[in-house]
Each structure stands twice: as structure tokens, then as C-alpha cells.
């Protein structure tokens, strides 16, 4: 137990050191003024505000909406995939066609986004249907499992 405590103490010290190195690199390589530091801090805080204040509440609301569905778990997985695919697609959809370099973002991103969401929808619907069929078969014997 004592060696574990020593290891944890070491980890904390090493971690603080690496954090310090990161801050040093930022200061050393960009020679930031107070405004530059404030900008980075604002963006760091902004990332948390958008995530904790908008994204997670939206996810929790979606969770409440599907809470009573007999296929809640399947819907949750489908929504997770669709959501992550959309987050990754979004910058490309918004940015496509804006670069002078034709090899950057060369694909039809809105169409491809539609395709991946469509596939996710079809897979989610199929698995939901199969799950419902199975639980209907089992419902005579036991509790309905979502």
C-alpha cells in the first residue's frame, strides 16, 4: 500500500511537471501578451461551456425521450453513432467548396453525411425490429427486456 502511495505521489508530481512544460512551451514559443493568454483561456472555457451547457443537456434530453422505449438500448447506440458521425461531418459540410485548393474537401459531404445517417437509421431500425421480435417471443416466458 505504501508503494502505491509513493507511485501516486510520483504520478502527481510528474503530471504537474508535464503541465508546467506545456505552459512553458506556450510562453516560450509564442511570447504571448496578456490578450493572447486571455484568448486561449476563453477558448478553453468556451469548449467546456458548449459541451457541458449545450451538448450534454441535449444528449440527456434525448435520453429522457427514449427512456420508456422497449428498444431504448438499440436507439441509444444508434443515436450515439449518428451524433458522432454528424459532429465529424459538420466542419466538412460547412467548409466544403470554400478552399482554393481543389484537393481539400473534394467529396460531396452533404450527400455523404446523408448516406451515413441513412445507413445508421436502417441498421438501428433493423436491430430494433429484431429485438422487438425476440422479446415478443420471450414475453410468454418472462419479463420483457429492452
Amino acid at each position: 500500500m505504501r508503494s502505491l502511495t509513493a507511485l501516486r505521489t510520483l504520478l502527481v508530481l510528474l503530471g504537474l511537471g508535464l503541465c508546467g512544460f506545456g505552459v512553458f512551451q506556450f510562453v516560450d514559443r509564442t511570447a504571448p501578451g496578456p490578450d493572447d493568454v486571455a484568448e486561449v483561456l476563453e477558448w478553453l472555457a468556451g469548449a467546456v461551456v458548449v459541451h457541458d451547457g449545450l451538448l450534454v443537456p441535449a444528449v440527456l434530453a434525448a435520453g429522457v425521450l427514449i427512456a420508456n422505449s422497449p428498444v431504448r438500448r438499440v436507439l441509444r447506440s444508434g443515436l450515439l453513432s449518428a451524433g458522432c458521425l454528424s459532429l465529424i461531418a459538420l466542419p466538412m459540410v460547412l467548409r466544403a467548396g470554400k478552399s482554393a485548393n481543389a484537393t481539400v474537401l473534394p467529396l460531396s459531404y452533404p450527400l455523404n453525411w446523408g448516406i451515413v445517417i441513412g445507413v445508421t437509421l436502417v441498421v438501428t431500425a433493423s436491430v430494433s425490429w429484431a429485438t422487438l421480435q425476440r422479446s415478443r417471443r420471450l414475453s410468454g416466458r418472462g419479463k420483457l427486456k429492452s
Partner: protein
């Protein structure tokens, strides 16, 4: 009078340490891979003094592999990070908010870890589409935040060690109950375990989905599934993507019409394009690999850098400065470490995939070297300067 702030209640049962541990270790793996590959790229691009003369030229696909992996693990971190943070979200509302100085310090370290990781992944994703919406340098902040993330992650792991050990393994099957209330809790635990496995399967599917539709920009077998990557390896002049076009670099017809290659060394000389073409030509197959995560292998033909240096009186390679005609944007001048300059595979390439280099690929002459960042494979080369 005390005002009671409304605090959210969380009915879901997967906001628990076991779920956090199961998702967290996957996220930790993705973050670790991202960090290591990122540091590798940084030091290949800006080698510190102690690495000078020792940069590895093998494996030839090393940079392609590591930077493909960097972006793949970064994108895989999106679902992992979001689910991990969702799992621990109720912790944001613990009451009282601060219990002790140690608790305050821990919460501060979490704030640093979460904010840095969110911003890092966001910046990385937008960098791959070359969209810079923030007011600061991408490279410097992405680099500095990487260290802050890995540091605050170690602190986090140290603080949570007992919890992680306790929940590392799946909970044991509940024992036959002695009391009725134990039956209830055992049934709940079994239900939670099923629900957790379903969530983890969902995470695995989401990670797989975002990987399959993006990895084709560097992983050739997945090329046909490349639906949401910023690049397609086949789209570009001569079947190869480009990062900076001739137009963006400010290459003019006038500069090209008077082009000559200057080589500065013990015996300096100049060559016209015809003279360069008359030298022994070599064919190599080497990938061009960008830190933004796209890469593709191609056939290059041109003159070995070591032959050009030998002609200048340098027999066994030397640190080299490569100067481009480029007038706009970064990377117009690059430095090449000695191991590359003595390598048989390092060329001043004149042809690509059987054709004369396209203007966007650096006509009339560009550098191609093994295991090297694409940004340093300087195009429109007009001068080589022996440095040491």
C-alpha cells in the same frame, strides 16, 4: 434566508465508476496514441539539437503510419470522450462544490483536463479541414495543450487510482441473497451490467463507424469507404492530393522560365533543367504523408540528393538547407538532416507517376525523402545549401 438552488437529479444508472473506468481506459489509450504520434511528428519537423544527425529514415512508411494513426486515434477519441464525459457529468454538480483544499485542487485538475482535451480534439478536427476559426497559432497551442493534457491526465489517474483498481474488472456475479433487499440490489446490479455492456457495444460501433468513414484518407484498403474524410487519396493532379498549390505559393511563370538549380557547397555549381535531366535518374516508391492525416504512396523519378552533393564535393551527406521558389506561406525553406541526404531513396524528383511533375506538385523539382513529414518535402526547389 438560504436560497435553495435547483440542482439536477440524474436517474440514469450508468453515471458510475465502473462505466467511467471501462470507457476511460479506452479513451486513455486513444489519447496516449495521439500524444506519442504527435510528439514524434513534432520532433521530426523541428528536431532538437541532440537529435540532429540521428533522424531515422526507416521505415520509409514510418511518418505515413504514425500520422495516419494520429488522426485515426484523434477521431476515435470523439465518441470515447463524449461518452466518458457523459458518464461523469453528474460530478459537475456535487454538493457542496468544494469540500476541502484537496477537493478544490482535484476539481481544478479535472477542469484543466476536460477543457484542454475538448479544445485539442476540436482544433485537431478543424485543422484537418484547414479551417482556422481561433485567433491563435494552431501548431503552438495544439503542441502546448498536448503536454497539459497528458500531465493533467497523470494527475487524474493518480487521484482515481483506488477507484480504477476497484472497478477495473467486471463486478463479480452476485452471491445468493440472504436478505430480500439484497435480492433487489443484486437484480439491479445485473440489470446495470447488461445496460453497461450494451452501452459499450454502442461505443464500439460508434468508434468503428467514425473510423471506417474517415480512415480511407491514409489506409488504402478503406479508400472506397472514404465518405467523411477531408481528403481522398485519388483526388489531385497526377492522382495525388496537394497541400499548397503553385498559385497559393506564389509561383510565377517568370520565375519558372529562368529556373536553375543552384548547389552551394565546397564546389558550388548551377544546373539547368536539361542538365539535371541528363544526370543519372533513379526511381523510388515513397509515400507523401501529411500531418493532417492523409497519405499516399507514389512513384518518383529524379536525381539522388547524394549524387548532387557528391558533385559539390560532399561525399558522405551533410545537413542541407533546401530553398524553394515559394513566395507565400510557410515551409518555403526547409532543413534536411544528414541521414536523409546520404540515403539512396532521397531524390530531387523531376517526375511523378511517370509524368513530369505537375505545377502543384513542385515543377520543376521537389524533394522526396523516406519517413519524412510532407511539409518538409519542399516543392519548387531552386537552391541546395550545404550547412555543415
Amino acid at each position: 434566508m438560504r436560497i435553495a438552488l435547483p440542482r439536477p437529479r440524474f436517474g440514469g444508472r450508468l453515471h458510475d465508476p465502473r462505466t467511467a473506468t471501462a470507457v476511460g481506459r479506452l479513451l486513455g489509450l486513444a489519447v496516449f496514441v495521439c500524444f506519442v504520434t504527435g510528439v514524434l511528428s513534432h520532433y521530426l519537423q523541428e528536431p532538437p539539437g541532440w537529435l540532429s544527425g540521428h533522424l531515422p529514415t526507416r521505415p520509409v512508411w514510418g511518418y505515413r503510419f504514425s500520422q495516419g494513426l494520429h488522426v485515426i486515434s484523434g477521431i476515435a477519441a470523439v465518441p470515447l470522450l463524449l461518452v466518458k464525459l457523459w458518464t461523469v457529468y453528474p460530478q459537475l454538480f456535487v454538493w457542496p462544490p468544494v469540500k476541502s483544499p484537496a477537493h478544490a485542487a482535484e476539481r481544478l485538475s479535472i477542469a484543466v483536463l476536460v477543457s484542454s482535451t475538448l479544445l485539442e480534439v476540436f482544433m485537431g478536427l478543424l485543422n484537418t479541414v484547414q479551417w482556422y476559426v481561433w485567433p491563435f497559432s494552431f501548431r503552438q497551442v495544439h503542441w502546448a495543450l498536448a503536454w497539459v493534457i497528458i500531465g493533467s491526465l497523470l494527475v487524474h489517474l493518480a487521484v482515481k487510482t483506488p477507484l480504477i483498481i476497484e472497478h477495473w474488472r467486471r463486478p463479480a456475479k452476485p452471491q445468493p441473497a440472504l436478505q430480500p433487499d439484497q435480492t433487489v440490489s443484486a437484480a439491479l446490479a445485473a440489470h446495470d451490467e447488461l445496460d453497461r455492456r450494451s452501452l459499450l457495444r454502442g461505443v464500439a460501433v460508434a468508434v468503428g463507424a467514425v473510423t471506417v468513414v474517415t480512415a480511407g484518407q491514409s489506409v488504402t484498403p478503406l479508400k472506397d469507404a472514404d465518405l467523411l474524410a477531408p481528403r481522398n487519396p485519388d483526388v489531385g493532379p497526377q492522382g495525388l492530393p496537394v497541400n499548397r498549390t503553385a498559385k497559393a505559393a506564389g509561383i510565377t511563370a517568370l520565375a519558372l522560365s529562368t529556373w536553375k538549380l543552384e548547389v552551394h557547397g565546397p564546389r558550388p555549381y548551377m544546373l539547368t533543367l536539361d542538365e539535371l535531366r541528363a544526370m543519372p535518374q533513379h526511381r523510388v516508391e515513397l509515400p507523401i504523408a501529411c500531418v493532417e492525416g492523409w497519405s499516399k504512396s507514389a512513384h518518383w523519378e529524379g536525381v539522388r540528393i547524394k549524387d548532387l552533393l557528391a558533385r559539390a564535393g560532399v561525399e558522405d551527406g551533410a545537413r542541407l538547407r533546401v530553398v524553394s521558389l515559394q513566395r507565400r506561406g510557410g515551409y518555403g525553406v526547409s532543413e534536411m538532416d544528414r541521414p536523409y541526404t546520404r540515403d539512396d531513396l532521397t531524390l530531387l524528383a523531376l517526375r511523378l507517376n511517370g509524368e513530369v511533375l505537375a505545377p502543384d506538385h513542385g515543377y520543376p523539382a521537389r524533394i522526396i525523402a523516406p519517413n519524412r513529414p510532407g511539409a518538409l518535402q519542399t516543392k519548387w526547389v531552386t537552391r541546395l545549401e550545404v550547412l555543415a
